[in-house]
């Protein structure tokens, strides 16, 4: 049995049983729903805007090689340097070498899920660099020694009292219950670290082929500072982030903000086209971009699920997902939580070990409805289930389907089985049976009807 699955079941059971925590998460998301609806209402046609956003991504992804080449040529002509990484290890090595070559000591990072995906912090710390996460949520999670809970709201599960205690322990500050005070503590603490850092590492939300710019979306201003003050700026991005035209962003930027956080526009949307230019007051001397594959080409090769590369990581699908809201983000054990995480993690880390995430879905389709780029998320979960069954069915699946086939194709046997079943149904609750008992523990079993459906059908006027 897969280890990841066992851990998932255990964690999910614990977090689901934690009522107060679930109420806390739902309360935290309450404000988001209100703001999202207010902002969506400002669109003259949200559904058509979704078409346009999804088309922009579709166009770039389905012509990825040319779009990437066009982007890279532009980017390098602006003075930046591109590095290609086939997998996580190669990306880590590239970044470590760049830092070593710069003789850097301190590294400041702004929020970037792709660096989480390649476990960059671990590698940097092992190599002896001090790394600080500058996004408030990521900073809190770094101090807690915990992975992000939600890839847009990393510490949405942590209460202010816990944050206060955490700051007292690590930064020696006085206890406070005010979110504002706590934010200011982090602000003061991180200020000097930006000024002192030699290298700034950021992610990228979009790569614009037309102009060779990278686009970074953030609310706090930490990415702005990370790309302004250190001598060297390194950005890490998946190859699927590229779009063709600068104008594509006139749809994608506002929709990212509205779908993901209920904002008209995220506070800072910044386009970088190179290192500091002659005549500019400040900015890094060097600008490097690491383009990461890490199984993205594998998703690309699956035409059915190719559209999962359209994801702009807005987080909307997590915010509306009944599974996410109940089990929480940590139970997933993945870099990307929620529906999109359940779709792509099997590609990134193996279907056999991570297929259980596709089973943890009510298939309600709330994610698909929420997705600003119209990724067919809930059908992809079904496809993962199907694929897992075809490639590595468990003995139970095999036996069950063979048995089912045998019975269903023999009407008399089926009728007989039904009769037996009607009588034995009440017993099911009493005897421990694999799978069934776990299901029945928290659910009521309705009483069996006196007659089978076929008998009822015959006796009714249809007969």
């Amino acid at each position: 049995m897969s280890n990841a699955k066992d851990i998932f079941l255990k964690e999910a059971t614990t977090s689901t049983a934690d009522g107060p925590q679930r109420i806390f998460i739902n309360k935290a998301l309450g404000g988001y729903y209100t703001n999202r609806d207010i902002q969506k209402a400002r669109y003259r046609d949200w559904e058509r805007a979704r078409d346009v956003a999804s088309l922009a991504k579709w166009t770039a992804v389905n012509d990825l090689a040319n779009t990437l080449e066009a982007f890279v040529a532009k980017f390098e002509s602006n003075g930046g340097k591109v590095h290609w990484a086939r997998d996580a290890e190669e990306a880590r090595q590239i970044i470590l070498q760049l830092i070593a070559k710069a003789k850097a000591k301190a590294v400041v990072k702004s929020k970037c899920m792709t660096t989480e995906e390649i476990h960059l912090n671990d590698a940097l710390e092992k190599a002896g660099y001090s790394v600080v996460e500058s996004d408030l949520g990521e900073f809190i999670q770094q101090l807690r020694g915990e992975a992000p809970y939600h890839f847009v709201f990393p510490c949405m599960h942590v209460k202010r009292e816990e944050i206060s205690a955490l700051f007292t322990k690590h930064l020696g500050t006085a206890a406070t219950n005010s979110p504002e005070e706590l934010t200011m503590i982090a602000r003061r603490h991180l200020r000097q670290l930006y000024v002192d850092a030699d290298v700034g590492i950021t992610g990228a939300n979009f790569l614009v082929a037309e102009t060779g710019q990278i686009s970074i979306t953030e609310n706090e201003g930490n990415a702005r500072l990370t790309a302004a003050l250190p001598r060297i700026h390194i950005a890490l991005s998946g190859i699927e982030k590229v779009v063709k035209k600068l104008d594509d962003l006139s749809v994608l930027l506002p929709m990212l903000a509205t779908a993901g956080a209920g904002q008209p526009m995220t506070c800072y949307n910044t386009l970088y086209s190179g290192p500091r230019k002659p005549g500019e007051c400040d900015g890094p001397e060097e600008f490097h971009l690491v383009l990461l594959d890490n199984a993205r080409t594998q998703i690309l090769a699956d035409p059915e699920q190719r559209d999962s590369l359209h994801c702009i990581r807005c987080g909307a699908c997590l915010n509306v997902c009944p599974i996410f809201k109940n089990i929480g983000g940590l139970a997933y054990g993945t870099t990307y939580q929620g529906p999109i995480g359940s779709v792509i993690t099997p590609h990134l880390r193996g279907l056999k070990q991570w297929n259980h995430l596709s089973a943890a879905s009510s298939l309600c389709g709330a994610c698909t409805d929420a997705c600003p780029v119209r990724i067919d998320l809930h059908h992809h979960l079904l496809q993962n289930r199907r694929n897992a069954n075809q490639t590595s069915p468990t003995w139970f699946d095999r036996l069950f389907h063979r048995g089912f086939n045998f019975v269903i194709s023999r009407p008399r046997l089926f009728a007989f089985g039904g009769r037996v079943f009607r009588f034995t149904l009440p017993l099911l609750k009493k005897i421990p049976l694999p799978y069934l008992s776990a299901w029945l523990k928290t659910r009521d079993l309705p009483p069996a009807p006196a007659q089978s459906f076929r008998q009822q059908w015959k006796e009714s006027s249809h007969g």
Partner: protein, 226 residues
């Protein structure tokens, strides 16, 4: 071993040999633009200048940014003086620009013009950064600054207060128009940074409660002339 670039591009080309179905759309793209005409579906940016100014005013207010409308340049200087007095500024930083320099130089506090190779530690100690901008976007209340028009990258984000001095002819309807203007103005020589600032810096990371002034400015002023 092939290099990583060639190998990844080869994998991409191989993968794309199988085509993916095009999603089903209500709208079809307009040739030459991958997004088609989007104006009609996104939030309104206003047709006339007065509609645009109304939207800008409304959006900036919602974002908790302060808009000060003034009739001419000398009134803009007074408005800046007024902010400096109420905020008790001791030291401000600004960049060389025909709208910005005279206004900043008229202030009664310590003034410092950022030029190339300035001291970032010194900027960190300033009470405010005063800049011009590239454009103001009515549709969203965003202010577009650039490393060229706004004194580099950090002046508009490191000090605790950011003041933008702009004129009404810099107001554009929406992002679509804004991007077209950026491309027309700068062509191939884009500033190394272009940034849309939409309200003062903010975070909701603690219990999803909005706090202004996370890492960037806590307060944002727009002095709009005309």
């Amino acid at each position: 071993m092939a290099n990583a670039r060639d190998e990844i591009l080869a994998r991409v080309r191989e993968a794309l040999k199988v085509t993916a179905p095009k999603p089903h759309f209500k709208s079809e793209p307009v040739s030459g633009r991958s997004t088609g005409t989007v104006k009609a579906w996104l939030p309104d940016g206003g047709e006339t200048l007065s509609e645009q100014l109304n939207l800008l005013t409304e959006n900036l207010a919602k974002l908790k940014a302060n808009l000060v409308r003034v009739s001419d340049v000398s009134a803009a200087h007074q408005a800046l003086q007024q902010i400096a007095l109420t905020k008790k500024w001791k030291k401000v930083a600004y960049h060389s620009h025909p709208l910005v320099s005279p206004a900043a130089e008229a202030l009664n506090c310590e003034k410092w013009e950022v030029t190339s190779s300035f001291d970032k530690q010194k900027l960190e100690g300033c009470d405010a950064g005063i800049t011009s901008c590239e454009a103001l976007v009515a549709q969203l209340g965003s202010i577009l600054v650039s490393s060229e028009s706004s004194g580099g990258r950090s002046l508009s984000v490191l000090p605790p207060v950011h003041v933008v001095i702009a004129t009404v002819d810099q107001v554009v309807a929406d992002l679509e128009v804004c991007f077209a203007e950026v491309l027309a103005k700068h062509g191939q020589k884009l500033p190394s940074m272009l940034s849309f600032i939409t309200g003062p810096s903010r975070t909701g990371d603690i219990e999803r409660i909005l706090v202004l002034g996370a890492h960037g400015p806590k307060e944002l002023y727009v002095i709009l002339i005309g």
